[in-house]
């Protein structure tokens, strides 16, 4: 074997754990799930080919549309709000404030709390009779709602809880904001820009690739929301009006509660197509607004 061949072989051997792992634990299951999506496969029995029946079934499946809608509104509300909120917090944290590290830790720590534990905490905070949120509202003369028992308020609670966990985005924005060259701000000052204009014309373009990254990861995350609503509405399967019953939860139920792995696989492929489609769309749209440094 030539020296080049030996080096190639050695290279392959070194990366083989990853390649084999990727092939066996990612590509193969994906290929199998694509096949299963065209079958009726209850897992305990062999798969039976049904063609596109699973995909056609989705069209008339009320729960599919319900969970898709729930996931869509959740994403549509949480993604912009979380982006705006984390940008504001990051802006405040990167300005010169006393005990900035403490505030950074306070913002980041919620992301370290296990989701189930956080759901338990919020369940009590939002408790209609004994919750601290309603107690606080009561202090200012507001009769708080029964948060987790009314569809609209339960939806608000879900959004608030999601916004509580923006710490990771904040940290990324903080890093991006610190990377904006000071000289640009100095030039902006010389041009007489005010703080708002400076943010819109200097800061936003400079951190726009990071915003794009965060929005894409948030989109993927919100489309896969699962553990929090599961724990929050554990006794009622999605809470009042099933407002907290999301796509991934339905997919999980189909696969592992109902034993319909074929249909669940079809749901997973639709979800993948949606995620890919949205990501592609974001890249397309962002081409015009995202500033990439040359």
């Amino acid at each position: 074997m030539t020296r080049e061949g030996r080096e190639n072989l050695a290279g392959w051997v070194w990366v083989s754990p990853w390649v084999i792992g990727f092939g066996v634990f990612m590509l193969l299951p994906m290929a199998m799930s694509l096949y299963y999506s065209f079958t009726e496969y209850p897992m305990l029995e062999g798969p039976v080919w049904v063609g596109a029946e699973n995909y056609a079934r989705m069209l008339g499946d009320g729960t599919f549309w319900k969970t898709l809608w729930n996931t869509a509104w959740y994403g549509a509300v949480v993604i912009p709000l979380a982006t705006a909120l984390s940008l504001v917090i990051a802006g405040m944290l990167t300005s010169k404030v006393r005990a900035g590290g403490l505030f950074q830790a306070a913002v980041f720590i919620p992301t370290l709390v296990p989701l189930v534990a956080s759901a338990m905490i919020w369940m009590w905070l939002f408790n209609g009779r004994h919750g601290l949120v309603n107690r606080a509202l009561g202090l200012v003369g507001v009769d708080g709602p029964v948060w987790l028992e009314r569809a609209g308020w339960a939806a608000c609670a879900l959004v608030i809880i999601a916004l509580w966990g923006v710490g990771q985005q904040v940290m990324i924005y903080c890093a991006a904001l610190r990377e904006v060259p000071e000289s640009l701000y100095e030039a902006a000052d010389l041009d007489g820009m005010g703080p708002v204009r400076r943010f819109v014309s200097v800061t936003l373009p400079m951190i726009s690739p990071v915003i794009l990254f965060n929005v894409i990861t948030l989109t993927i995350g919100t489309l896969q929301v699962f553990a929090l609503p599961l724990a929050l509405f554990q006794n009622s399967k999605g809470g009042p009006g099933q407002v907290g019953y999301f796509y991934t939860m339905y997919m999980f139920d189909k696969a592992f509660a109902d034993g319909e792995m074929g249909y669940a696989s079809a749901l997973a492929w639709v979800q993948l197509v949606l995620v890919l489609g949205l990501t592609w769309l974001m890249f397309k749209v962002s081409g015009r607004v995202v500033h990439t440094r040359g």
């Binding site: 209850p42 305990l44 029964v146 009622s236 399967k237 009006g241 099933q242 139920d253 592992f256 034993g259």
Partner: protein, 459 residues
């Protein structure tokens, strides 16, 4: 001292050798212990006190003989994990499932019928009280009814009532009919300043059994012969209208606000223990919580769930039953050893020991005098009456049950909201449940299995 030089070839060789060793001789499943005993892996759902009680039975079995060693593994989400492990051909030897799991596992041939196990016939379900027999019986894919496991523990549901609150309201005893329950609820409910502060009966406390109300008025979820949903039948409509009337009588928002303050079931803030509700539908296991958290003076009684006056029969109370079962997955290495363990668990002494530790009624048709006298639940007779009643009922014995249950759980919200009559909600859910059942029929047809009602079953 010269260091050891690691060549690239040597490193690759060591890595490859390690990987090969791991594949061929790495951690595997122990089939036999050093002392020659056959090892059986037993997955069970219970943890904590309930798990410790079952582990004690396992320990006793391991001590009682020298051929088999059972390894107890507490497994969360046991049904899902058992399904995946059996599908993957790496199942445990024994699995503790929920009673409602049996149809799915049995029809799929994922578990072994008792008549296929050596000596399995001796574990006949005839020994159980009527309410529990059905949990292990199910038709195989060819339509032949068989027994698929043993009942390890079981419980029926009945109405707990708070004696102090009943006395306070001047009520002589527990309601015997649905109509009396309504009257008692009204007398026991206190509203102050537009807020409910105490209630008689709250249908969604604890909210675990959305499906048990129909039979109170003679309704049922489905017809097991024709596989037709009966959720929009007269009995079911009357039952859920009865639920709706009570849920909305004092205002939907006040009721929701009141419910939101209930503590967890397993806590001193349990709504029944805290006196917030005076009646609750529960199983015998509630005595465990009462014993743990209620004060000495907490006096409760237990009565069968009231039925509508027109169908009430004191000799045959209406009530739901639940059970846990132990099954043997298909293809286990030593089915004889599995049967040996099951037989040990099914000895009266061990069944009653486990039931006592779980605060449940005995699944056996006749329990011993000792069991009855030692049982901490003072309402045991009521639970036993339901267990022996011909009108006790279980979850519908269909593999579609998880889906149907989800529909019924979700239905409780619109029923209790009261924005539309219960009949409208039920009509919608009935259509959805029928679609679920029809899909099961289509699935059977696709696989060439007999369908309900013969070849002319629903397409």
């Amino acid at each position: 001292m010269r260091g050891i030089e690691v060549t690239r070839r040597g490193a690759i060789g060591a890595l490859a050798g390690g990987a090969l060793w791991f594949v061929l001789a790495g951690p595997g499943r122990e089939r036999k212990r050093r002392d020659g005993r056959v090892v059986l892996d037993y997955w069970e759902k219970w943890t904590g006190q309930e798990g410790a009680a079952m582990e004690a039975i396992v320990d006793a079995f391991n001590q009682s003989q020298s051929r088999v060693w059972v390894r107890y593994l507490a497994t969360a989400g046991v049904s899902e994990k058992a399904m995946i492990s059996i599908a993957g051909g790496a199942s445990p030897d024994l699995v503790g499932l929920y009673g409602h799991d049996v149809p799915q596992f049995a029809e799929s041939g994922a578990i072994t019928a008792l008549d296929e196990l050596p000596g399995g016939e001796s574990l006949s379900p005839e020994r159980y009280a009527g309410a529990f027999r059905g949990f292990v019986r199910h038709a195989d894919r060819d339509g032949r009814e068989r027994a698929w496991g043993v009942v390890s523990s079981g419980g029926t549901l009945a109405l707990y009532w708070n004696k102090a609150r009943f006395a306070e309201a001047g009520l002589p005893g527990p309601p015997r009919t649905a109509e009396e329950l309504d009257t008692a609820h009204d007398r026991l409910t206190e509203v102050r300043g537009g807020r409910i502060v105490r209630a008689g009966f709250v249908d969604r406390e604890p909210g675990w059994w959305s499906w048990v109300f129909g039979p109170i008025f003679g309704g049922r979820v489905w017809d097991p012969e024709s596989w037709r949903s009966e959720l929009s039948g007269e009995g079911s409509v009357r039952a859920y209208q009865w639920v709706q009337d009570r849920a909305t009588r004092h205002g939907v928002s006040p009721m929701k606000q009141f419910r939101s303050g209930f503590g967890n079931y397993d806590s001193p803030r349990n709504a029944f223990l805290a006196g917030e509700v005076a009646m609750v539908l529960q199983g015998p296991w509630l005595a465990n919580i009462i014993g743990a958290y209620a004060g000495e003076g907490f006096e409760y009684g237990v009565a069968p769930m009231p039925a509508s006056g027109s169908i009430r029969d004191d000799g045959a109370p209406v009530g739901a039953a639940e059970a846990d079962v132990v099954v043997v997955p298909r293809g286990v290495k030593d089915p004889g050893a599995c049967v040996e363990f099951l037989r040990f668990c099914q000895e009266r002494e061990n069944l009653e020991r486990l039931s006592l530790a779980h605060f449940k009624n005995s699944p056996l048709a006749e329990s011993s005098e000792g069991f009855r006298s030692l049982h901490p639940n003072r309402g045991l007779a009521a639970f036993d009456a339901v267990a022996k009643s011909p009108r006790s009922f279980t979850t519908p014995r269909t593999r579609a049950w998880p889906e149907i249950k989800r529909e019924m759980d979700a239905m409780m919200d619109p029923v209790c909201e009261g924005n539309e009559p219960a009949s409208a909600v039920l009509a919608r859910v009935d259509r959805r449940v029928q679609a679920v059942l029809d899909r099961q029929t289509a699935r059977r047809r696709r696989r060439g299995w007999p369908v309900p009602g013969g070849a002319g079953g629903p397409a």
